[in-house]
Structure formats: C-alpha cells, structure tokens
Amino acid sequence: VDIVFIWRLNMNKKDLPSRRNLLFRAADRIHDRLCQVNRRSADHLFASIERLRAYWQVLDDLVNRHRKAHQNCWELAQRQTRSDIIEQIKQLQELVNSVLLSQEQCGPAPISSQACIAEELRQLADEFEDADILPKPGLVVVKTAPIELEGLALGSFAIELHLDRLTEKADVTCFDCVALDSNPASANERITHPHVKDQALCAGEATVPIAKALKEGRINDAFCLVRSVLTTYNPDSPYMAIEDWDGRRCADCGDVEDSDDLCYCNRCENDFCSNCISSCDICDASFCSQCLERDPVSGKYCCNSCRFECAQCNRIVDSGSFVEESGLCPQCHEKHQQPTQSEEIDHEHSTETTSASASTATAAAAA
C-alpha cells in the first residue's frame, strides 16, 4: 500500500503556520469525535435510568399490594406478593450491576483539551519515523521502524488512526496496521504480522489501555501501545505462528497449506490437507489414512476405537459387526454357534423319543 504523505508533522520552519493549523484542525476533529462518544455514553446512562425507574414502579406497586394483603389478612396473597417483591428486587439488582459495569467500561472519560490533543499529535513526530495527518480521508498515520520478530523480517508498518471510526467506538478498531514492505504469511496473504489480519490488530493485553488512551485523547500513547504490540511476538495466540510463516505442510503429501485448511488426525496428532485426511465410518471423527483400517467384509474404514480383531481368524472387524460376547467376527461366531445348536437339536430329539416311549408304556398298562 502506497501512502501519500501529504502533510508531514516534521516540516521545515517555513511551513510552521500551516502545520500548526493542521494540527489544531485534526485535534479539534478528534476532540469532537470523543465528545460524541461521551454524549452517547451519557444517553445510554439516561436510558438505563429510565429502565430502573420502570422496575422501581413495578416494585412500588407490588409493595402496595402486599400491604393491602397484610391489612386484610390474606395469607395466600401475602405469600405470593412477597415472592414477587423478592424476584423484582433481584432483577433490579442485576440491572443496577449491569449499568455500573457498562459505565465503568464504556463510561465517559475526561477528554483532553484540543490543545493537549494537538500536543499529542505533535509528539508523534518525535516518537515515530514519520508522522502525518491526511485531512481528506481523516487519518493520522505514523510509520514504524522495520519490525523483526524472532528473525522474521516483517518490514515497516503504517499505523493509521481513522478519525471517523472514533465516533462509533474509541478503541483498537479505530486503528489499521498496514504493512509497507509486506511479507505476509505464505499460507494466508491477509496475515501480515502474527497479530495482524486484514490490517486489524489483535491487541491482546493492550486492548484496554489503548481504548482508555483514545477515549481520554492521549493519541500518542495509543499509537505507542499499538507499536508495542507490533514489536512483540506472543507465541500463545498468533494468527499465524512464526514457525509456520512459510506455511504448514501436510504430514502426508507435504503440500504447504493455510493452517485453517489443515485437519487434525485424532490418533497420530498430525495435520493433514483436505485430500489426505479421512474419517472413521463408524464414529465420523477425522483420522489420516494411516490411522484407519478397513474391515474387508463390511468395507468400512475404522479408527482404533471402532475396530476389533477376530480372535479366530484375526480379521479386522468394525465395531458395528463385531460380536463382543464371543470376541469373534460374525462369520466365526456363526461357525462357533453351529455345533452348539446341533447338540441342542440332538438333546431335544432324545427328550421327545423318551416321552413317546413313556406314553406307549402307559397306554399298554391301561389296556
């Protein structure tokens, strides 16, 4: 991305009047945006107070009803209204807590004066290699020194503060981090830094202080905090780990893929591309082809948890077909059952013969 540096904060002395003018215009614009944020926060507070009033009105009505029930000795009504009052108080308490919390997090902040904001903008020129104000798109832009994280050269970044976004929410989303000498992750060009995707910074521990600094008009502090994140690598939660910057290889075919497109084998715990990953036909979990075995009779591919080995013929048997009581495949189980069944038939046959002879003898005796 080419940034046309129209206004330079570190211009020559002859440009001083225009620079000062520019600074104050930008400071005024920022101050105006932050005041809007504060006004919105105040509006939100008033709306919450109206809701509190409505809750209180309901509570007041309930108390009157309870009093009436008490005066008339209506036991059942007293119990019911008492329970409703407690419930209403709980809801009121929840609302009060949420109002206090939202005011704590997004409440109005003491905004610096326009002169202080102008000082903050002026300080950017001291802290960064380049600091510029682009009035037309409403940007304050600084350029960082080339950034290198654990040997990975990422080049310089332009940190852009979009003034229009300040009206919506004065937080890290007002910033874009644009790679000037882009060296994106090979698997995903949208990732230009382990903590930057689509030019948006995932600020982590700096999220709260950046928002606080912006809300108070401490623009230089907010920029410095963004830079501190850009110059730090957190291996615990990057968009792309530095070791995978050049892509991650499929453990089977070796193709380099975006990490998000790789699938995990639940057995060998390696990552595989979509062509090399498969799944168990019984439990549907993903496994690589090496970790699956095929039941030659049912034709199903099974993971180690969903397959058994026949104790008789050593065949791989899917868990749906396996006869657990005998530990055999259906075919061996059937064979194993046959002698038992013929023995039972013989036994039944001999029993029938004995009873027939007995009846003949009884009939003869009667005759």
Partner: protein, 72 residues
C-alpha cells in the same frame, strides 16, 4: 508535590499523585513499577525522554508505556 502520572500498563491509569520533592525518575519508576526493568518501558517526562537521575518537578507529566505487549 503533585505530578500527573500516566501508566499505560494493565487497565491504564492517569491521575495526579503526590511525590516527595527531589524524587528522581529512577526512584519514581522503581516505586511505581517495582520489579520491572526500566529498559522495557518508554518513560517520558513532559513528553520528552529523560535521564534516570532527573528530579521530578511539581506538575510534571510522567508517562510510562511498556515497549513489549503481548498481542492475541
């Protein structure tokens, strides 16, 4: 004497605080950021870089910003 202290760590802090006259920047940092290495922080007094033995004056504006912050 009172100075404005802006600590950009954690939840952020910006308020006037009392410091003893004659307190140097180093002493102030050690007191406020105990256990931390000053090299990991950007310390500015009245928006300017300062020597560690500089004495703080009333109404000074001290800013401390970490130079290494873990993103997510």
């Amino acid at each position: 004497m009172k100075i404005l202290f802006i600590n950009n760590s954690g939840a952020g802090f910006a308020d006037y605080i009392d410091v003893a006259p004659g307190t140097t920047v180093k002493q102030f940092f050690e007191k406020k950021m105990s256990g931390e290495d000053a090299a990991d922080y950007l310390i500015r007094v009245n928006r300017q870089p300062v020597a560690s033995d500089q004495e703080l004056q009333a109404n000074d504006r001290v800013t401390i910003t970490a130079t290494k912050i873990a993103g997510a």
